[in-house]
Amino acid sequence: MTELLVKNACVIDPLRGINGDVMDIAIRDGKIVEEVSDAAEVVDARGMLTMPGGIDSHTHICGTKVNFGRYMSPEDMRAGRTPRRGPMHATSGYSVPTTYGNSYRYSVMGYTTLLEGAMAPLEARHTHEEFTYTPLQDTMANTLFDGNWAIMEAIRDGDIKRVAAIIAWTLSAVKGFGVKLTNPGGTEAWQWGKNVSCIRDPVPYFEVTPAEIIRSVVEANELLHLPHSVHLHCNNLGTPGNYTCTLGSMGLIPDLNPKRQTLYATHVQYHAYGGSGWKDFCSKSEPIANFVSMRPQIVIDMGQVMFGRTTTMTADGPMEFNLYRLHHDKWSNHDVELETGSGIIPVVYRRKNLVNSIMWSIGLELALLTKSPWQCLLTTDNPNGAPFVKYPEIIALLMSKRYRDAEFATVHPDTGSRVPLPAIERELDWNEIAVMTRAGAARALGIQDLGKGHLAPGADADIAIYPLKIDEVDPSAEYQKVIDGFSQTEYTIKRGRVVARRGECLVHGSNATFWVRPKVPENYDMSKDPDFIEKFERYYTVRMSNYPVQEEYLSRNRCIETEADL
């Protein structure tokens, strides 16, 4: 039995409605408890800001495309080099660091849970292997279903239950957590050298539209009672005028779940563009944020762009090809058999560039214009908008109008006429930041009942203590203190152990991977479905029996079993 007592913590815990109370937190064997014995080890928080461990609800840190980003950009490994130190391995890389680099840097910022945004089912093993070497965070993987042949056939036949059954089998087989749709239909069309322009274009051969895919998969997701909703990367990413497509996609979604949203729309910054081309490109964050504010069934994340060098990577192959034609630099494209694809290119976002400046504004506007912080979470779609190490700067921008104005003065001079940002006075408070970075993410991912994102007795003892005194720091004026405070925790506690202290990681750690296993009736078990098996054996390059990820690939793990309504 190990016990730990965090004393004099200034706690912000939005899921329990605690906002800045000074209290003690008792921990026994990795869980938060009511009280501990006098023998407990004591950590004195001295009134510092204490929150549940950070949760990144959409990041790309593990898996084949992240690793291909590393292959492609050896120059990236020249930055961020740290030697081996104590229990810390050597690290390198800036936008696509080594797995240890990701894990240590997240831990130093107080993050304890990460959702890998897109895992191709066929390549799940690689993702799980890299999870093993991301030791200081619990991990889970969104699984890609955007171009799944079997699902598109089932949708064409109008059989939602079969869609659900295929999702159930695949998630269990690849140890996935949630359902991700990346440019639904578009990646499959890309395999024919095409794309879909919006949600009403049929996918070649399958003759289903993205709208049908989104609606059917959302319904199937709720039939399976998965913890997380469908996680959607809308069609038409990065195209001027794409906000109408985004609104159209969001308008498809009924409110099907009382506990959480029914749709999680990710990196919406990239989907909130107005104009008819790059010449009249402008922000349409207002209609998007207003639309989201009126619909509790939708949660979005920012996908904030920050200036500097980074690597874009997504399952959205055709979009990356368009980016390649703009930048004319390195490009990689990848096709994943019957499932999806991907593309990667390195980019530099520049202040001098008008389009980049507008993108930077849009992310902030979404966060500031969406009324409830529970509906707009803080991400950069790491590393697409910026590496996650920029989060403290984003927090400071959201908390300080003065900082925003100072930064705005440095971007392209025409930006002011294209975006509403300068007119927005709102400054977020500490509680709202806590919602956007942990509580809201836990609720959106459906993991609050698993003890994530709050500090109630019984919850996992994942705690971040930041060297910030919230009654002494005025975030709107002293934004540099906010940046410094959120960049490096005083203590990061993971499962009841202090794992990071003032920038140093103290233990090797061992994470847990969350995955789901929906229970379906016998007649919906795809591993016994003759038609599914026949097509699988015919079209995949692997045998169906070799496809599931073996338990050996999961070190510690928590299987979430759900009962499907089929």
Binding site: M72, E75, R78
Partner: protein, 255 residues
């Protein structure tokens, strides 16, 4: 100030010495420097017989003379910003990385990556150079950004790869792919080479000998006079929407 570093013969084997501390500027504050041999850090006088003559108060006044088994030394003159280094024998890899000013003179041959990503100053090599002389590094977009590299012997493959600015002159032959991905600057090869200036975006590449396996995506412009020679001018690389100029004395395409 003249600093003479004579290498003591190695007791055993061939273990390279990482000597990025051998930069003229560092000797202004004495010879108390460290180098790495494998995983061991050694004092300079454990590897060299050190002697110092005269005094200097600026890097420009310092000359470092290296002799002995200098081919074992790596990264000599890295980030050098003034003064002179003279190598009386061969030199190991990564000599003159990132240098911004000063002169390096090598009397023997140089191993790979000589003057990689240099930004200024001059390197003269009396012997041959191995691959990636005056080039960029893995994945980088810009290689050498300024200065001059002159080689009197032959050069290996990927000479001046990613050249962005500055001048590279090779008096002998060059290997495969000289000036690959170059985007500026001037590359002159007095001898023969193969596949020059592949995917070039800008700058000028001169081959006074024969360019074998010419890249087919260059557009032939015609003969021009240059420096008393008649050369054939090409523009390209069209595959890269390039606006570079390639001048060759003779050329042959791959059959």
């Amino acid at each position: 100030m003249k600093v003479t570093l004579a290498m003591k013969p190695a007791a055993k084997g061939f273990i390279p010495i990482e000597a990025e501390s051998i930069v003229p500027k560092n000797f202004l504050s004495g010879t108390d420097l460290l180098v790495w041999r494998g995983n061991r850090e050694l004092r300079l006088d454990e590897v060299f017989s050190v002697s110092v003559e005269g005094e200097a108060d600026r890097a420009e006044g310092v000359e470092v003379v290296l002799s002995g088994e200098t081919f074992r030394l790596k990264r000599v003159g890295e980030y050098m910003d003034g003064g002179k280094i003279t190598v009386l024998g061969d030199i190991g890899m990564h000599c003159g990385n990132f240098m911004t000013a000063g002169t390096i003179e090598i009397h023997g041959n140089a191993d790979g990556w000589l003057g990689r990503e240099m930004a200024g100053g001059a390197i003269v090599c009396r012997g041959d150079v191995a691959d990636y002389c005056a080039s960029g590094y893995r994945g980088g977009r810009k290689g050498m950004k300024g200065g001059t590299v002159e080689v009197f012997g032959r050069a290996g493959d990927f000479l001046a790869e990613n050249l962005a600015d500055g001048t590279v002159i090779v008096h002998g032959d060059a290997g495969d792919m000289p000036g690959a991905e170059m985007r500026g600057g001037t590359l002159i090869v007095h001898g023969d080479c193969s596949r020059p200036a592949a995917n070039m975006k800008g700058g000028s590449c001169y081959v006074y000998g024969t360019a074998r396996e010419m890249i087919p995506t260059f557009k032939k412009i015609g003969p021009v006079q240059h420096d008393g020679r008649t050369l054939i001018q090409f523009a390209g690389d069209l595959a890269n929407r390039g606006k570079g100029n390639l001048f060759v004395k003779n050329y042959e395409y791959l059959d």
